[in-house]
């Protein structure tokens, strides 16, 4: 397929989804080469590759955060927390409500428990890496709450499917916290600043 303009959605992806901030030079190069080739498929391929390469680089530089998120989300004693009488009574309170309010209440309750655990982990991580910045911290928290809410809706749906209990409690149950924490750390702590436009000393 030949075209004179690159697909705007792909350009939006390039500007917003490549980790490490906008790369003006890369965007300009892609536009220049696209005008010579005129292939939409080629442009999309390049954008997807740029996103994948950017994420793999981020993963390499942020592996400590990911390991921390795995250890932390695995170590939370959900079983003991679930046996706490006050928590049980609060959870049962929601079960008495009519459906679907009861379901929404439970998802909200689980999200709140996850959010408390995530908040503690995020403060620990940002404190240890000395990168606490309030606006970024709040943005990270907001993203995490969104992920936790969606994740717990997924957990509720999977619970209905009667998965093997061990797999459910040790993997599925802990996934929203893990993903929320990784994303919150990602947003709250920026990666190394892109090399600036100067000739480096030789």
């Amino acid at each position: 397929m030949k075209s004179s303009q690159p697909p705007s959605l792909a350009t939006w992806f390039l500007e917003h989804l490549v980790p490490g901030g906008k790369n003006e030079a890369l965007a300009g190069d892609l536009l220049e080469d696209f005008r010579r080739r005129g292939s939409v498929a080629w442009y999309w391929r390049q954008v997807i590759m740029a996103i994948l390469v950017g994420f793999s680089k981020e993963l390499r530089t942020r592996w400590i955060g990911i390991v921390f998120a795995i250890i932390y989300s695995s170590a939370i004693p959900w079983k003991q927390i679930g046996q706490n009488l006050e928590i049980q009574s609060l959870l049962l309170l929601g079960l008495r409500l009519a459906w679907p309010v009861s379901l929404i209440y439970q998802i909200g309750f689980l999200t709140l428990l996850d959010a408390v655990a995530l908040l503690a982990a995020l403060i620990m991580y940002l404190g240890a890496t000395r990168s606490l910045n309030l606006p970024r911290f709040l943005r990270g928290l907001l993203v995490a709450i969104l992920v936790l809410s969606l994740g717990n809706i997924g957990v509720a749906l999977l619970w209905i499917m009667h998965l093997p209990p061990l797999f459910f409690y040790y993997v599925v149950w802990r996934l929203p916290l893990f993903l929320g924490l990784v994303l919150a750390m990602w947003v709250a702590r920026p990666s190394a600043v892109r090399a600036e436009a100067t000739w480096l000393p030789e």
Binding site: A25, G28, D29, L31, D33, M49, A50, G54, T198
Partner: protein, 111 residues
């Protein structure tokens, strides 16, 4: 002699393309040069990731050019090999030549 930096295959290819291009080394000609010389298409995103890595190692430096209309008002980033990079490329070549020398299996272009 300072500590040597390990060069990956793509890093070496990109550095050789930069040396071939000289003053006009920015994303598009670099990827085109690689495609013409090695016969393999490398995504521009991979070329930039490699260039950033080389820059972090101090083997390549860069500066921004003027924005142009054909690029939607975006500037080109020009790259060049530093003195350290040049030394590194030369040493890698010597090491590879030593490994190459005397290998009868790789002579004559026949398998």
């Amino acid at each position: 002699m300072g500590k040597r930096t390990q060069l990956g295959e793509l890093e070496l290819i990109v550095m050789l393309a930069l040396l071939r291009l000289g003053e006009n080394a920015y994303g598009v000609p670099i990827s085109r040069e690689i495609e013409q010389q090695s016969g393999r298409e490398v995504a521009l995103g991979s070329v930039y990731a490699t260039l950033e890595r080389l820059q972090e190692k101090g083997l390549v430096s860069s500066n921004l050019g003027e924005p142009t209309a054909e690029r939607g008002g975006r500037a080109k980033r020009y790259f060049r090999v530093t003195t350290k990079g040049l030394r590194e490329a030369r040493e890698t070549r010597q090491a590879l030549m030593k490994l190459w020398r005397g290998l009868r299996e790789l002579q004559g272009g026949q398998v």
